[in-house]
């Protein structure tokens, strides 16, 4: 833990609390029937996006997933624009065209969430290829879940990234379930990271409920990627407290299991760690909670007061005008 500054830890804690608060608020908006579509909450998984993204540089890139609020917030996303997108407003990240599942901010290096499981993996690999061809030093963090690790595109992309030594870090957020399917049912080995050995790249399984542990392994993988040594596969074992999406009735797991995982809560654990070590005091944590509450309040207000997109603009963004500059 030595090399992470206190300021950085404060920021990490702030982001984790913000992600959770954002999603709890999103859930409330949903319950109030203010949301047209669906949502995929990552409550319980906050350590993975925060630990990973803080281990990379701001100028690096990420490719996110359908469960991507955490990635966007950790990457510096504006929660006002996220709430607005969630509510389908013109001021949202995608001008209301994408919704919760498609949030992207190219200016921040988030190349986008994706509604198709596993489809972001080859896109991230292509982005890494472009960075290599352009001789840039930036790298790509590729997020995906345990479900995506059974898509063919996952194997093909891992293979290409490995043979071409691309500047990419594969981060599998293994939250134990692909919708309702437990990992144990569809993955024959104990760790998904075992698959990395087939491509001759490092495969590491890490406690996905421990933000510092994640930070440390991703930091090493980022360094390796940036030095041109190729990709690393990291599996972070984590857990989503909520269902897969709004249709989930939790028929496939027990309350006991959920409560067991909550005992490992990444935010509570991190707070315990940093308060015990004396790095962050209760007063500071209280301030973070207040700041987050204010951010959320402002974000929701902004979204609720924002205009809907004009239906006259239905065809906008389908095609790019003109050609090469």
């Amino acid at each position: 833990m030595g090399e992470i500054s206190k300021e950085c830890k404060v920021e990490m804690l702030y982001k984790m609390i913000l992600i959770r608060a954002f999603e709890k608020q999103a859930e409330k908006l949903f319950m109030k029937n203010l949301v047209h579509g669906t949502m995929h909450l990552s409550i319980g998984e906050e350590a993975v996006p925060v630990g990973s993204i803080f281990a990379a540089e701001k100028t690096d890139y990420i490719v996110s997933t359908h469960r991507g609020h955490g990635h966007m917030i950790a990457k510096g996303g504006d929660i006002r624009k996220m709430f607005a997108e969630f509510l389908g407003k013109e001021t949202g990240y995608c001008h209301g065209r994408g919704g919760s599942m498609h949030i992207a901010d190219f200016s921040l290096g988030n190349l986008g969430a994706n509604g198709v499981v596993g489809a972001g993996i080859p896109i991230a690999t292509g982005a890494a290829l472009a960075l290599k061809m352009k001789k840039r030093k930036d790298i790509v963090l590729t997020f995906f879940g345990d479900g995506a690790a059974n898509e063919g595109a996952f194997y093909e992309s891992l293979n290409m990234a490995a043979i071409w030594k691309l500047p990419e870090v594969f981060i599998c957020e293994n939250n134990m379930y692909a919708m309702s399917s437990p990992v144990s049912k569809f993955v024959p080995t104990q760790n998904i990271s075992d698959r990395a050995s087939a491509f001759g790249i490092p495969g590491i399984t890490v406690d996905g409920m421990d933000v510092i542990a994640i930070y440390e392994v991703v930091r090493e993988a980022v360094k390796r990627a940036r030095e041109g040594k190729g990709p690393t596969f990291i599996e972070a074992k984590t857990y989503r407290y909520r269902g897969h999406s709004k249709s989930d009735k939790n028929l496939y797991r027990t309350k006991v299991e959920i409560e067991e995982w909550k005992k490992k809560d990444p935010i509570i654990r991190f707070i315990k760690k940093v308060t015990e070590s004396g790095e962050i005091d209760d007063e500071k944590i209280e301030k973070i909670r207040k700041d987050v509450a204010k951010d959320i309040e402002e974000g929701v207000k902004f979204a609720l007061n924002s205009p809907e997109p004009s239906t006259d603009a239905l065809l906008e963004y389908v095609y790019a005008e003109g050609g090469e500059e």
Partner: protein
């Protein structure tokens, strides 16, 4: 003027673009030393090196996606699919990703991606290597579909496609690779989304795509000797479709036949005819607009069966005669 083949014209377009823009690169299976399954990229590896002529593993489902990812990062990838039939592997990346990412992100990105794929029958390659695949992608908003019918168009359209900021399915006909035609040495482009009247006539409008332009021109020569003057329009870009020249032509000729190699059902023919029927040209029609497409059958191996499965010159001649001569009326009355 200089005469080169369709394949040489395509090769020139790629090489000239790669020389002027380092962001342009090509990727696909066996495109390096081997020169691609049809030899189109022969010589490119020597000039541009293995990074810009990137041999890929047999992983279409992902390397199309790699093209998507490279495109959003500012590269201009040309992805070669060995046979257009294998576009099925890359379909998620084309349909759900390339075509939609710009829209879904509210216009945050450009997608300058060209997916080149040889298609068409006539080479004895049977059902899995001979299909015409444009219809699979016609109803996907966000992509453009280009299908050149001759060397001159092939070069000009491919350059425009590489320079375009949208995902493009560029369909080359295998039997046209050896077709010779005049191609100027000076730099030129053919804009996407522009139909071309390739032959003027007053009795009937044929809209023909890809190799059917060549066959329709041959049919028109034969029909000319029998006093039937055929006007032929090549849309060149199948999506977006430039319908106006077709509407204007039908207003002049009062008859329409769409000739295409793809299976007749759910193809480009139905779309062109619908658009004409919904236009003022409907009021000028002296006969129902007709389709002459491929038979709804997988492409067979046997030469005679294969020929029978797709429109040949003689089929075009007899169909035109039926429409212009009025026999269509007796036929549809009888069918009724």
């Amino acid at each position: 003027m200089r005469v080169i083949t369709y394949k040489e014209a395509l090769r020139e377009a790629i090489m000239e673009k790669m020389r002027e823009d380092k962001d342009v690169f090509m990727m696909g299976e066996d495109i390096g030393v081997y020169g691609g399954a049809f030899g189109l990229s022969l010589g490119m590896l020597e000039e541009f090196g293995p990074e810009h002529i990137l041999d890929t593993p047999m992983s279409e489902a992902s390397f199309v996606g790699v093209g998507v990812g490279a495109a959003i990062m500012g590269m201009r990838p040309i992805v070669e699919i060995m046979f257009s039939d294998f576009l099925t592997f890359g379909a998620d990346q084309i349909i759900n990703q390339a075509a939609k990412l710009r829209f879904m992100t509210g216009g945050q990105l450009k997608m300058p991606l060209v997916v080149r794929a040889p298609q068409g029958s006539g080479a004895g390659a049977a059902s899995q290597h001979s299909q015409n695949t444009e219809a699979w992608f016609l109803n996907i908003p966000g992509i453009k579909i280009v299908a050149p019918s001759n060397p001159y168009d092939a070069k000009g359209l491919l350059k425009s496609s590489i320079e375009d900021n949208n995902p493009i399915i560029f369909l080359e006909h295998k039997l046209l690779y050896s077709m010779k035609g005049e191609v100027p040495e000076k730099d030129y482009r053919i804009p996407l989304g522009k139909s071309k009247v390739v032959r003027s006539g007053k009795n009937i409008t044929i809209v023909a795509t890809s190799i059917m332009v060549k066959r329709s021109l041959e049919a028109a020569e034969m029909l000319e000797r029998e006093g039937i003057q055929v006007e032929i329009i090549d849309p060149r870009t199948l999506k977006p479709l430039d319908i106006n020249p077709i509407v204007e032509s039908v207003k002049k000729t009062h008859r329409l036949l769409v000739v295409y190699e793809g299976c007749v059902t759910g193809g480009i023919g139905g779309e062109i005819i619908s658009q004409v029927a919904e236009s003022e040209a409907f009021l000028y029609l002296d006969a129902p607009p007709f389709r002459l497409g491929g038979v709804d059958v997988p492409i067979p191996y046997n030469l005679n069966l294969e020929r029978k499965a797709t429109p040949q010159v003689e089929d075009i001649v007899s169909k035109v005669k039926e429409i212009v001569g009025g026999d269509w009326y007796a036929r549809i009355s009888r069918d009724a």
